[in-house]
């Protein structure tokens, strides 16, 4: 059920990101709503389908974006892995896990996108990319991290209700 739900939810988020959030800019960075949702889903306590969501998110964004699809899919899967790692490290501090995972996930996805574009011949300067795109994007993502975490937490609680043993 949780895997099936990921398709319409992430699909809607891709549409929102393409139509609306891609125009919300800080310098030249933008919000990655799909990444935030994916990270928030992965750091939830009882969620077991984080990898599936990562794959679905990578495929959906890869269809829309001009960045090579393998880079996007790999980026989102590595971001999922980072989120799961931080969930384990900060298991008693879920907000801290979300913040750390958001920052790491932004760096990972941007690094892979940058590498893929450079490999395919697009001339993008590294220092400008970091200063004007990656860091502002990370800041925007961090600003939205907690609200997205709260919303995704409600979704996770409905799909993975807490089992109370009597």
């Amino acid at each position: 059920m949780a895997i099936l739900v990921s398709i319409p939810i992430l699909g809607i988020l891709v549409l929102l990101e393409s139509a609306i959030f891609s125009q919300v800019r800080l310098l030249y960075g933008s919000i990655d709503l799909v990444l935030l949702t994916l990270v928030a889903w992965a750091v939830q306590e009882r969620v077991k389908t984080a990898w599936h969501w990562g794959l679905v998110a990578g495929l959906l964004v890869g269809v829309v974006s001009a960045v090579p699809m393998p880079a996007i899919v790999l980026g989102y899967l590595l971001a999922t892995g980072a989120a799961l790692l931080f969930k384990r490290v900060f298991w008693q501090r879920p907000f801290l896990a979300m913040i750390a995972a958001t920052f790491a996930a932004t760096l990972i996805t941007h690094a892979l996108a940058f590498s893929a574009l450079r490999f395919t011949g697009t001339a993008i300067p590294l220092v400008e990319s970091v200063n004007l795109v990656t860091l502002p994007s990370a800041l925007l993502n961090l600003l939205l991290a907690i609200p997205v975490y709260a919303l995704v937490g409600d979704l996770a609680n409905s799909l993975y209700p807490e089992v109370i043993e009597i």
């Binding site: 891609s22 800019r25 990655d32 829309v64 974006s65 001009a66 994007s137």
Partner: protein, 279 residues
């Protein structure tokens, strides 16, 4: 002694007439004031109390009625304001379409397909937009995209109902251009920040601020003579092989809503003409 009846009547009539004459003359005013003031006071007291009681029972109904009318009027105002906004939007769209139509009529050699911009690339490294026309509408990869102002980009990927357009500001974009009036040829490239740069301008060419930049048609990727922008800055250093310049595009890429795709232009594939190593 009893007075005759007729004498009584006459006497009474004379008294009444006298009183009337005195009243008309104003001689009875102090007496009437003294007599009527208690009645006036009582009347005032009674009317004030009655008004208070009446208002106590009728004011809530009036307030409710006024509140309902106010709410109705406010709803009507909101509806009218929404209509105004919608009409303003339609007017703006009409102006854009009118400009596009004028552009299409001014360039009858091309066939155009109007498309709406429905999204942008989620990646902040790239400058692409998504339009609502695809292969079902006859779009193919490589078709140029313009607006009434000038060149926008070209179709980079196509699905059945949508297409992705690479803007000329994309860092992966490279266009052969011609300067007007010098006629010199150069290479226009985009950048991460969306700024347009002219490269490979020969040193001997005199480039002025405000010179127009148009497509040259060289390479077969774009039709010739499509306006791109104006030169806003020139960098010339004698130690370098070429000059470079920065361009202000005529198209506002942050406000793209409706574009024209030139559907009767097919980019030339130069690959067969390029000699392979060993040939």
């Amino acid at each position: 002694m009893n007075m005759p009846r007729s004498l009584q009547t006459v006497t009474l009539a004379l008294v009444v007439i006298g009183i009337l004459l005195l009243a008309l003359g104003g001689y009875l005013t102090p007496f009437s004031r003294l007599a009527l003031s208690p009645f006036v006071g009582a009347q005032t007291w009674l009317f004030t109390r009655y008004s208070a009681v009446r208002d106590f029972f009728t004011t809530p109904r009036d307030v409710t009625l006024l509140s309902q009318q106010n709410a109705q009027l406010e709803a009507e105002i909101s509806s009218l304001q929404a209509q105004i906004i919608q009409l303003q939007q339609q007017n703006a769209d009409l102006e854009v379409l009118s400009a596009l139509l004028d552009f299409a009529q001014a360039h009858p050699q091309n066939e155009y397909l109007t498309s709406a911009v429905i999204g942008r690339d989620p990646s902040p490294f790239l400058h692409y937009v998504i339009i609502n026309r695809g292969s079902d509408d006859g779009l193919r990869r490589g078709m140029p995209v313009v607006t009434s102002q000038g060149l926008v980009g070209r179709v980079a990927a196509v699905t059945a109902g949508a297409a992705r357009v690479q803007l000329i500001t994309d860092p992966g974009s490279a266009i052969n251009v011609r300067l007007n009036p010098s006629g010199a040829e150069a290479l226009l490239t985009g950048s991460l920040t969306g700024e347009l740069q002219l490269e490979a301008i020969p040193q001997e060419v005199e480039v002025q601020l405000g010179d127009l930049v148009l497509t040259s048609g060289l390479g077969g990727n774009y039709p010739p003579d499509i306006l791109i922008g104006q030169i806003t800055g020139v960098r010339q250093r004698p130690v370098e092989l070429f000059q470079s310049a920065s361009i202000q595009p005529v198209v506002d890429f942050s406000q793209l809503k409706i574009v024209l795709v030139i559907v009767n232009f097919q980019p030339v594939d130069l690959a067969p003409l390029i000699p392979r190593p060993g040939e």
